[in-house]
Symmetry: C2
């Protein structure tokens, strides 16, 4: 089961778990006869940042980052994903700090740059000799990157670009690494050549020298204390006529010749902009996947606690009841467990299509990574919150991780694209496919919409348990929802346009259907990845458990999305049958709960005292006098 | 409007706001030409605790706590509530630390004690000469207080009680004030007299001397770093044959004579136990109300930000759109605004029935405070999360409060009774009323269930806008839901009993209906308090806005609770009409958003930089060099 969920690079993962557990830098603490490792969060921001750097140095030394930028092919990318996931399971700050350097800075050099940049920067970046950051967001522009205000012009006399921050809202903001450690940055900026606005481009600029002194014409300030991720030094940058060599333009998409002539194979600035951002999908891939691992940690802790913690007895002189034996407690945790398993498969699928990407699959990857980034990070926040409450007061102790991770992971729902904005983009893309298919009067092809070419699924009026647990019914009802919502969305938007609204505004007004549709797309695809994973397993007990998990995933989605009742995909009788089946599945999954969280493959040291003997861990003898 | 929402003691509130703004102890910081006050959360737990104590000493000196325990009557209680609310708006740690001392320790002396305790302790407690804590929870028992394991016996030879912690799970846990500062504690313990188990009783024990040294036979340990509230020193306590004078039993309900004879006016241990806990309702009252103020702060910040922050333009060269002009952004924030106003009235109602309590109203107060504590704190967490995301990255900065408050307030959903457990108690109480009414074949009387004596409301098949906005329809549909759910719940529980389940277990199995019913009760009562508040206002623009808010509160509750569709209280056509009306109401409330958050009466200094000129607040000139 672990193989199915982790998917790849098991030995690499275990090796890195071991490296961290061995070192004092990862703050091992004894409790209840076990060792747990976790950062000391009772530290100031400054101390946490320093610890992050020390941990990076240790991992660098051990060769963890070897091949992260110079490695070639899908295998190297999968190893990097696996190791990065393991790092995130220890501390999100550490993962984000490394993500900015290797995925954003390094990825920008790889994907936006050409040979001259690769030769000059990749090796030193991999060796952390130079420390990169990624200056895209500004105070005034986050999700709307196209609206950034930083301006770069070209001086043909010296062959240099000149970068400026023209106003306070153009200051670069939230730039991870900028406040303390980064030596270089990617700068996203409007490029103006001889009075022509060529749109957003990316440049390399140095911001600190090797001794850590800020470079001339650069100003840097700290973003200050955050609700989490205080191990990352987010900063702000102002550019005052900063001059950089012409070669520092990352020129994979467009270039400027020494005489100032602007060249690009892509004429349309919108398409050029899209081409610029496409390779950054890796950021969303890692965010989505790390959200699943965070959910796994919290569920492993909360479920283990619920198997040792008791509360209230049903009759006098009877033992108190284990938390997980309460049907209500099962209902709180086991659907989240099933969803997390489903999303684990979805994450593996996303990584797979990403590393096997082709120019043709870019659009699909963009849409799927947007949908999964939003869906998986929202799911994670909800799981963390439920697990924290399910652990009661113990969930509030930092050492028990569950509650604390909420602060560390909260940022995921808005960084690298606000989740709501991403989901709107998903629906927009689906609508685009819809309109294109109608226009060319051809079947749907792409984004998994092929099911719309079939006849509309019919949901039986009487749902038996075996129908409810069948993959056929589950697929049908998910496809029905997606199909109908897409039709409704298309109709509503076109009606609004017919009433005189612009297409843009019509879309904005139809946000509720857009949200519903985005969810329908995401859920349908997750179910599909689940079925694909299930198909690789041969008949036996594990396949049976997978079937239960998949049914729970599907049915809880039916239960939770009011669209099924609202739009009549399910009758109230059907909805009652679904609810009853969910309760039944809770009981059926209950005996497997411990085995399932064990199959997450998280070493005990990465869980917390309440996951094991929490009475002993809290005993007087464990108090350090 | 502010008068209606704050309800009482406006001058006292303003005076205390002023006291805090004036003092350096409250960490004033300049940003964007304004001063903001907020604790420095980039401090270790130890530093935060020290600052809490300094702030208490300052407020004590200024007379803030005068009359908090020696004052008499409803007026003194309302003043205490008002000042405590204002303190919580600055920092939840400060409010909780004071709450433990004045409401829990002080309240226990007042309510569980008799004249001898009042004379001895209340004056010194009010003057903070002694510092009290409240040792109820144990490692092994939180919500289930009746199951605590601490044991107290009586030694007639010396006239002393002897308190013991018999095992590790009996250690007192989460005791606010115990780790560093408290000199005395209330100890909840099983009382065994001559081998007779008399159930849980409360005693006074000293744990530190005036110099802060731990007393003999007491052991204390720290609970450690928490995800929030680090300004409160939560600790653990073990008792090893701790001897206290017989007079230290808080004897309002039961007493032990010098010879060891046990006396109580209440023979049934269960009823005795209930009588013990009843007066502690004040804790739940303050939690519920403080949750509303937290929601107000976050909405004031998020809505003000959404009125200055722009993102994306609808057409080239058009200015970007203000966030609050997006229908989707209105839909995120304005329903929460309406709910928060509604819950503000609910909070005032709760305070009012509490300070006017009589022995007859105790049950009602217990049920209402349980329902509102759960509903208002859940609402607060949801509001904070939505506001944090609505503020994008700025919501992650600690200085902007919204994101940080999540960690500080999270504990509210599980402390002083887990919300789920409380809501089950609400439904249990409703079921009790139901069964009693059926048994005595008399009309319903109490807990607001009188509406069940009327004929069942009928919902029109076509809902017009004016019907949807009418208080009649809103009341009808809320009553219909409560009535039907209570019927269903009673039937389901009795069916399960008929199938051989114990009453207790039948109840546990019917948790979903219990949850739905608890929500229905809570919503119906909140709507009622809204209507009562509205009735005090004479016709005019303010009454119109109140009407919009009330309709939004009612309709968003219809939209969000799937029970309306699931059980057919609304047809799908009706549900579509509700959804449309919510969107319409968003547009109608949009022009009033700023006025509404201003009417919360929160001084600017208690908001944050993004609520005002956030560009200026982030300018280079504001950076401290």
């Amino acid at each position: 089961m672990r193989k199915l969920m982790d998917g790849h690079n098991f030995q690499d993962r275990d090796w890195l778990f071991g490296l961290m557990i061995q070192s004092k830098l990862f703050c091992p603490k004894r409790a209840g006869g076990r060792v747990f490792i976790s950062p000391d969060y009772n530290q100031t921001m400054e101390q946490q940042r320093e610890m992050t750097m020390k941990r990076i140095a240790y991992l660098l030394d051990r060769g963890v980052f070897d091949g992260w930028l110079t490695g070639k092919g899908a295998e190297a990318e999968m190893r990097k994903f696996a190791l990065h996931e393991v790092i995130g399971m220890y501390d999100h700050s550490l993962a984000v700090k490394l993500g900015v350097h290797y995925y954003l800075w390094g990825g920008a050099i790889q994907f936006f740059g050409t040979k001259r940049h690769h030769d000059k920067w990749l090796r030193d970046t991999e060796a952390y000799m130079i420390k990169g950051c990624f200056a895209m967001s500004e105070l005034g522009h986050g999700s709307n990157v196209r609206g950034i205000e930083t301006v770069t012009t070209y001086d043909a006399n010296t062959g240099e670009f000149v970068i400026n921050t023209p106003c306070e809202s153009a200051q670069k903001y939230w730039i991870g690494g900028a406040a303390n450690h980064a030596t270089h940055t990617i700068v996203f900026s409007q490029l103006n050549i001889n009075g022509n606005k060529q749109g957003v481009h990316a440049f390399i600029a140095q911001i600190r020298d090797a001794d850590g002194n800020i470079c001339p014409n650069i100003r840097v300030a700290d973003c200050g204390h955050k609700i989490g991720l205080n191990g990352v030094d987010n900063g702000r940058i102002w550019f005052d006529n900063v001059r950089i060599p012409r070669e520092n333009l990352l020129n994979s998409v467009a270039d400027v010749l020494p005489d100032g002539q602007y060249l690009s194979a892509i004429k349309d600035p919108d398409q050029r902009f899209a081409a610029f951002l496409a390779p950054l999908t890796s950021g969303r891939v890692t965010i989505a996947v790390s959200a699943v691992y965070s959910s796994k940690i919290s569920l492993a802790i909360a479920i283990r606690y619920s198997l040792t913690r008791r509360a209230f007895s049903l009759a006098p002189n009877e033992p108190e009841v284990l938390l997980l034996d309460y049907p209500s407690h099962q209902r709180r945790l086991l659907p989240l467990l099933a969803k997390t398993c489903a999303m684990s498969f979805a994450g593996n699928y996303l990584k797979m299509i990403y590393v096997k990407r082709t120019p043709q699959s870019n659009k699909m990857i963009h849409v799927v990574s947007s949908a999964f980034k939003a869906t998986l990070t929202w799911h994670n926040m909800r799981t963390l919150q439920e697990c924290r409450e399910a652990c009661g007061g113990q969930g509030v102790k930092t050492e028990n991780r569950v509650g604390h991770m909420k602060s560390e992971y909260d940022v995921q729902s808005t960084f690298e694209g606000d989740n709501n904005v991403l989901m709107q983009q998903v629906s927009k893309a689906l609508l685009g496919e819809y309109i294109a298919a109608k226009k060319r009067k051809a079947p749907f092809k792409g984004l998994g919409l092929e099911h719309m070419n079939e006849s509309c699924p019919v949901i039986p009026s009487q749902l038996t348990s075996s129908t409810l647990q069948s993959s056929r019914f589950q697929t049908d009802v998910f496809c029905l929802r997606e199909r109908d919502l897409l039709n409704r969305f298309a109709i509503e938007v076109s009606q609004r346009q017919a009433q005189g609204e612009s297409k843009e505004y019509a879309f904005i007004l139809s946000y509720q259907l857009a949200e519903d549709l985005g969810r329908a797309f995401s859920d349908r695809l997750i179910l599909q990845t689940f079925l694909e994973a299930e198909a690789t397993v041969s008949d036996g007990p594990m396949k049976n458990v997978l079937g239960l998990l998949r049914s729970m995933y599907a049915l809880i989605s039916l239960e939770e999305d009011p669209a099924f009742l609202r739009y009549g995909y399910l009758s109230t009788e059907n909805a009652a049958a679904v609810r009853k089946e969910v309760t039944k599945l809770c009981g059926e999954l209950r005996p497997h709960a411990l085995a399932l969280v064990s199959s997450f493959g998280i070493p005990d040291a990465f869980l917390s005292p309440i996951a094991f003997d929490w009475i002993d861990a809290n005993s007087w003898s464990s108090v350090q006098h």
